[in-house]
């Protein structure tokens, strides 16, 4: 109800005013946190169920549970719960939260919760007039230093979480999540590497180990590390490696310490240095400076604007962080790419041999990929790109094939043309398809001269071809978006037979887009997400932390291959480039990555949330610079390709040979231990199994739902 109020409050917790007796946890050192904390994630509707005696008055009170990072006197992470008397949880919120969205992921609690990592800058207290009110609340904060906690357990079907003390493994505190959504809080903690799954599962509860601040950083770094960085060195069983991590790394025979030889002792306690909540735009700049956009965890204290008074220890730390960046920045610098000239008639004639065959079709495709086709040649060359004409056919064979295809077309056309009224009324599948086509033809490219005006005969052609396609592939039939794909082809080919077979060729490339269950679209979202993770980590991280990493906003882009985003000429340019299937069949996904790459600063600087990103993306129509996008997409492709240590799943996406099997064999041992934990960061090293793909898919859908919960309720 009053989230905004509470939010401000969460953001502005000022410490130091808290009487010692109110501090709920054993604070090992006297240096209490001071100043303003940076809220990393927060969650409402959380009842305090168990706590030490000082907080007995607050038991069963609803409040908010947060993870707060303090920088003074040292960077430390605290778990904080504070009662919020004015927080109301609607009685029926639980009912609302339990809608089943998509059947196959039922059983998960979905509620009106939030758990979000904020990219916030600390705000000084007193900037609003609520100071007095805050005081009272502040005094009742229950705070625990994360380093003092050993584990967190979630139980009671995701409604309860309890934190266990490190000292004696006893229960430090227990919280009841009003909306049954404790797992969202844990997920957020896990994503930020504050905790990791632990195998323990007694009495059906899940347990997570809490990583201490050093390990958080370590864990985070290692999730980004690449196999080649890791290979060929010795694994030091250093004492600073938490035993859990040692056990993970121990299964990789030749993991090693990075070459710059950091001594374990030289890693100061405060190594938690500014990794998590840096301002994303600064984050981005840093990465740019390091010549690559592949750093998910890099950043240093500069990004917090704290460079002014730096102690030598801090400087050393920065140095280490800088080196960390180098470890993870394993993509080579992005090279600039320039589009070439369009394939022209003279060139085309040179490729055309006397008997009509086309020599060196690969070279032709390369030229087209690089520069497109001059408009006068399109009608002819598209037939090759769309698999209607065969490159190796002689002129004679081509004429024969065309004749045969023409007969085939008219046969199919006659089938629907001869449908009687009675047949039609007894055939709902046909009727529905026909009806949908009629509706869409009327509103396809009507602003194009070719389709403009009432009673335009070209509309009839468009409809006829789509109807014939229904007879050609009745199972698919007609799905919205297909008319968008056909219209430019028909306009270009004019002849309906040619247009039909070219359309068939195009459809063969994008059939999956129109699947009944939209599974292929979802897979494509997952691939874009993965590509972005590697190619543009800052944006990827931003999207993740704003619950927008489901990539659903790419839907229209992918469904009709950017048709709605570009003007007609650009659509033709883009499509003929993509039809070459160069440099890889998934290049159309890299177009999405490239567009997002260009929008990175806008999205991050303006702090867009899911709905705003969707709106922004939808409004890019007409504003996309195609040339720049194509060049960026290719540059990203080349950048990925040039990376020797590229994970196999990315290699697979961009059609590169996979890493030698030796590398994956070495990993078998670790797979046994960690098969259930895809968060370990090592799944990049091998191809995903179908099980993992399903899991990834599920995670993606979860992310999507999460974003909906957060932004649309």
């Amino acid at each position: 109800m009053n989230t905004s109020v509470r939010y401000e409050r969460c953001q502005q917790i000022q410490l130091g005013v808290l009487p010692e007796s109110q501090v709920g946890v054993t604070m090992p050192d006297p240096d209490m946190p001071q100043g303003t904390g940076n809220v990393l994630c927060t969650h409402d509707g959380v009842l305090l169920k168990k706590a030490i005696a000082e907080h007995i008055a607050e038991l069963n009170t609803s409040g908010s549970l947060s993870l707060v990072e303090y920088t003074l006197p040292r960077r430390r992470l605290y778990l904080e719960w504070q009662p919020n008397d004015s927080i109301m949880v609607a009685n029926d919120s639980q009912d609302q939260g339990d809608w089943a969205l998509v059947d196959r992921i039922s059983g998960r609690t979905r509620t009106s919760s939030e758990c979000n990592a904020f990219n916030t800058k600390p705000v000084e207290l007193g900037s609003n007039g609520n100071g007095g009110g805050l005081m009272a609340t502040r005094a009742r904060i229950m705070r625990a230093l994360m380093d003092d906690l050993a584990a967190v357990e979630v139980g009671n079907r995701g409604q309860t979480i309890r934190f266990l003390r490190k000292s004696d493994s006893g229960v430090h505190c227990e919280f009841f999540f009003h909306n049954g959504n404790a797992e969202l809080f844990l997920r957020s903690m896990r994503q930020q590497h504050f905790i990791e799954s632990s195998e323990t599962s007694r009495n059906g509860s899940e347990e997570y180990a809490i990583l201490n601040t050093e390990n958080q950083k370590l864990k985070k770094t290692f999730t980004e590390l690449d196999i080649d960085e890791i290979k060929a060195r010795q694994l030091p069983r250093e004492s600073w490696l938490p035993h859990k991590l040692v056990s993970i790394f121990g299964t990789i025979p030749d993991y090693v310490q990075p070459s710059f030889q950091r001594s374990p002792k030289s890693r100061p306690n405060s190594l938690v240095h500014g990794d998590r909540q840096t301002s994303p735009d600064q984050h981005y700049q840093i990465i740019k400076m390091s010549g690559s956009t592949n750093s998910a965890c890099s950043s240093n204290s500069h990004s917090r604007g704290e460079s002014a008074d730096k102690s030598p220890a801090d400087a050393e730390l920065d140095n280490l962080n800088a080196q960390d960046e180098k470890i993870v920045n394993n993509l080579p610098a992005r090279q600039s790419v320039h589009r070439g000239q369009a394939l022209n008639e003279k060139q085309w004639l040179e490729f055309r041999m006397d008997d009509g065959r086309i020599s060196d079709s690969m070279r032709v495709k390369e030229l087209i990929f690089r520069g497109g086709i001059v408009p006068s040649l399109r009608a002819e060359v598209w037939k090759y790109l769309l698999n209607y004409n065969q490159w190796s056919d002689t002129e004679q064979e081509r004429i024969e094939r065309r004749k045969q295809k023409s007969v085939e077309y008219y046969t199919m056309k006659a089938q629907w043309l001869s449908m009687t009224k009675t047949q039609e009324s007894n055939f709902s599948g046909y009727r529905d398809r026909k009806c949908q086509i009629e509706k869409d033809v009327k509103r396809t490219d009507r602003s194009q001269e070719f389709y403009a005006g009432e009673n335009n005969p070209n509309l009839e052609l468009l409809q006829g071809i789509l109807m014939t396609y229904v007879m050609y592939n009745f199972d698919l039939g007609y799905v919205q978006g297909m008319s968008d794909l056909l219209a430019p082809i028909l306009e270009n080919q004019v002849n309906e037979v040619d247009a039909f077979w070219c359309f068939v060729g195009f459809m063969d490339m994008v059939l999956g887009n129109f699947d009944m269950d939209q599974a292929d679209m979802k897979t494509q979202f997952a691939l874009i997400r993965r590509l972005l993770e590697v190619a543009n980590a800052p944006l990827f991280n931003y999207l993740c932390s704003h619950d927008s990493d489901n990539m659903y906003f790419c839907f229209r882009w992918l469904l009709v291959w950017y048709k709605r985003e570009l003007d007609n000429d650009d659509v033709l340019r883009l499509w003929e480039c993509l039809w070459t299937r160069l440099p890889c069949a998934n290049f159309h996904l890299l177009i999405s990555v490239a567009i997002l790459d260009q929008e990175t600063n806008v999205i991050i600087d303006r702090k867009y949330e899911f709905t705003e990103i969707l709106k922004h993306v939808n409004e890019l129509t007409g504003a996309i610079d195609l040339k720049c996008t194509l060049e960026t997409a290719e540059a990203i492709y080349l950048q990925l390709k040039a990376s020797e240590a590229l994970p196999n799943d990315i290699r697979h996406i961009i059609g590169q040979p996979l890493l030698p099997p030796a590398a994956s064999e070495e990993r078998n041992g670790s797979e046994n231990d960690e098969t259930t934990n895809s968060d370990d960061g090592f799944d990049e090293l091998r191809e995903l199994t179908p099980e993992e793909k399903r899991r990834n898919q599920m995670l993606l859908e979860e992310a999507y739902e999460r974003s909906l919960i957060l932004h649309h309720i």
Binding site: M1, S4, M88, V479, F555, L710
Partner: protein, 207 residues
């Protein structure tokens, strides 16, 4: 950028393909009509802020693709909706028959207490009418929801429909706020506190 408003309501337009969902939205948000519309692919939304009883209400209205095929995508957006406009085309019997399927869809995917309203669009095409106004009214009564015939083209009842739906949601929201937050307690929220930036935080007004 940051607008202030008292409430943010998320509304959804659903109904068969081609019944005029996008046109209704365009009429309401831009007060315009365009005959060369294109089919909606995926999902989009428009925003318009209205004022009711001195309260600023920001309406975020989601427009969905109508074809069955896209329901796995579009139903995902039902969840946060507080109001749903069910639209059929009075010149398309089938689109009227399908309303019951759309209702089922809502029942399966949206909140149980979501406000619904039935709209028979294209009422300016009286000569092509296939669904009588009475049938529309009757169906609405059956589902216990309000009904209006609209014309996005002739600008009939579009504004009224949205204002009605928003007003019903507002009444429900305020009722719930009162129930959860009795006025005598010391913690009553002032509306000024609810006013917030244009972000997900604004959902505070929705609980």
């Amino acid at each position: 950028m940051a607008k202030t408003y008292d409430y943010l309501f998320k509304l959804l337009l659903i109904g068969d393909s081609g019944v005029g969902k996008t046109c209704i939205l365009f009429r309401f948000s831009e007060d315009a009509f365009n005959t060369t519309f294109i089919s909606t692919i995926g999902i989009d939304f428009k925003i318009r802020t209205i004022e009711l009883d001195n309260k600023k209400i920001k309406l975020q209205i989601w427009d969905t693709a109508g074809q069955e095929r896209f329901r796995t995508i579009t139903t995902a957006y039902y969840r946060g909706a507080m109001g749903i406009m069910l639209v059929y085309d009075i010149t398309q019997e089938k689109s009227f028959e399908n309303i019951k399927n759309w209702i089922r869809n809502i029942e399966e995917n949206a909140a149980a207490d979501v406000e619904k309203m039935l709209l028979g669009n294209k009422c300016e095409l009286n000569d092509k009418r296939q669904v009588s106004k009475e049938r529309g009214e009757q169906l609405a009564v059956e589902y216990g929801i309000k009904f209006m015939e609209t014309s996005a083209k002739a600008s009939i009842n579009v504004e009224e429909a949205f204002l009605t739906l928003a007003s019903d949601i507002k009444a429900k929201t305020e009722k719930r706020m009162e129930a959860n937050n009795p006025p005598k307690g010391g913690h009553q929220l002032k509306l000024t506190e609810i006013r917030t930036k244009d972000s997900w935080l604004s959902r505070c007004s929705l609980l």
